[in-house]
Subunit: 325 residues, 2 copies
């Protein structure tokens, strides 16, 4: 199918009007009504690196690429606005596959209140999807940066950790004795992550001082918060809320469950800090947005990441030594 | 070099502050002060499809990817704001190559008044660069869409056509008797296209009714104007201003020079319509922005593209029949 016809078919599939959108696909550029502050993030998925088509449908890939970018908008406490999609199709890619990918993305866009309003479709050496999402807030004061943590702040994490990594291990062929529903949940955590838009806005409004989404794993992302906030962040491994089934999968893989929860990426939960006095407000706000909160550590003067075992003693995870201050 | 270190090196190389930028790279998302309307375009270049590293340096690739996206902003009459870059590096890509690509992009960003403030760097199956650029205008009234042409409007094109396609032919190994300087000009037209930011704003301010950048070739891009404006656009092939050397290269390739000028892509000139009465204002505004204007056709009731020879008779270019109304 010629490129221009495919683009027209994609445009026809994207008829969701964004509330800020003055002109969507079809002109030299998309035009949106602007105001306040714009918050923009880019996420890119490449075949063979971030996914394989043996274990992901095209719709999964579309969903996941948009989810990763939306999760960054959530972690700023902003409201999703518009998405711009660069789609690179390998030789022999079918029109059907491209449209399924866009449909998977569009379904999530609808759930997240985001409009896909522009992009580019080209041939290339393999399947690559890059999504740029712009979110909006009335003012910078409504946003939460990675840099705002203060000594004495508590470290919290929404939801449950390690599920996406377990899903990845299962897709890679790991055998584990799981009920079919549980197994499906873990696969879905990996293939169809849910960006926590409402929770991000709720946490921002309830006084979170710093926030980041858990894309690289709690240990690495906590280290990012520590670095940007110029202090030390400690994580109590025993207090991590693990996704149901992580214990079984970790055992099957010969790994420690808490270590898997601390290092597994792509959970797209929110990791944040808040003053101890904000704790009840934070919990209530998160619950109102459908998210649970586990308090897993704290911020202190110093630098780097400190991982603690159940007895409060420092733990070293192999490969993570460089994150210590 | 690990991905995070490369990202840090790229961030360190991008120290150009944008006037709207509140937070650049390093957080979950970039944050900019917004207002009026935001105008956003995406362009993607993939190795083996849009360029080869045998004929393009990494700096050329960075320049060209940003130039293509900026050209769309120019064609809206908007002012460039921020660029977001997705960089996909193939196995074995060097840090040096990635930094050269970003440096080539950053140099053009500086010339165009654009700030590179976010992005993503990942591995992938081949070199892919996708650039999302946001431009700004105070209001939608300042912008020029593809859809605004009216019957009786004149069709104009800035600068000179066919140069980029000739550069491509020369890079592909075509032998043509050109002075070295002329040859270098044509190669530069292909490898380092210049987005016409100032001319775009000037033409928009001087009353252009519709505008598009010449990325697919004048014939195809005039057909886009015709389709979006719901009228017929005619192009007088004999009136196209051809880049110096196009006659020589066309002869060497056994092609008609005007046909090469009408169909060659990636010139990134601006193609626009204007009421006959705006002609002097348009010419003056373009000259003030350093651009010449050739009047090459007109818009009329009807539909599709009409190509005319020097005697005013319809011409059919092979492969372009479907663009007729």
């Amino acid at each position: 199918m010629p490129e221009l016809e495919l683009i027209a078919a994609i445009e026809a599939a994207l008829r969701r009007p964004g509330k800020r959108v003055l002109t969507g696909p079809g002109d030299d550029a998309a035009v949106v009504r602007a105001g306040g502050v714009a918050v923009t993030s880019v996420d890119t998925l490449a075949e063979g690196v971030h996914f394989t088509l043996a274990t992901h449908s095209h719709a999964d890939v579309g969903h996941k690429a948009l989810a990763a970018a939306l999760s960054d908008i959530a972690a700023m406490g902003a409201e999703p606005g518009e998405a711009y999609v660069a789609l690179v199709l390998p030789p022999g890619a079918s029109e059907q596959a491209a449209l399924e990918l866009v449909a998977g993305m569009d379904e999530l866009a609808g759930e997240a209140g985001c409009a896909i309003v522009g992009g580019d479709v080209t041939g290339g050496p393999g399947l690559v999807v890059s999504v740029t999402v712009t979110g909006w807030a009335d003012s910078e004061e409504q946003l939460v940066y990675r840099s705002g943590a203060r000594p004495g702040d508590l470290l919290g994490a929404t939801g449950a950790l390690g599920g996406s990594e377990c899903g990845r291990l299962l897709l890679d062929g790991l055998e584990a004795e799981l009920a079919p529903d549980r197994r499906d949940e873990l696969l879905a955590r990996h293939r169809r992550p849910v960006p926590l838009i409402a929770a991000g806005k709720a946490l921002a409004g309830a006084g979170a001082t710093a926030m980041i989404d858990v894309s690289d794993g709690v240990a690495t992302d906590a280290a990012h918060l520590a670095e940007r906030s110029e202090l030390e962040v400690s994580v109590r491994m025993a207090d991590l809320a693990l996704a149901p089934g992580v214990d079984v999968v970790a055992a099957a893989a010969g790994r420690d469950a808490a270590e898997l929860g601390a290092t597994g990426g792509e959970d797209y939960e929110l990791l944040f800090t808040a003053a101890p006095g904000s704790r009840p407000t934070i919990e209530e706000a998160a619950a109102g947005a459908g998210a649970s909160v586990a308090w897993i550590g704290e911020a202190a003067s110093g630098s780097g990441l400190r991982l603690l075992d159940a007895a409060g003693q420092p733990v070293t995870l192999r490969g993570y030594e460089h994150l210590a201050g």
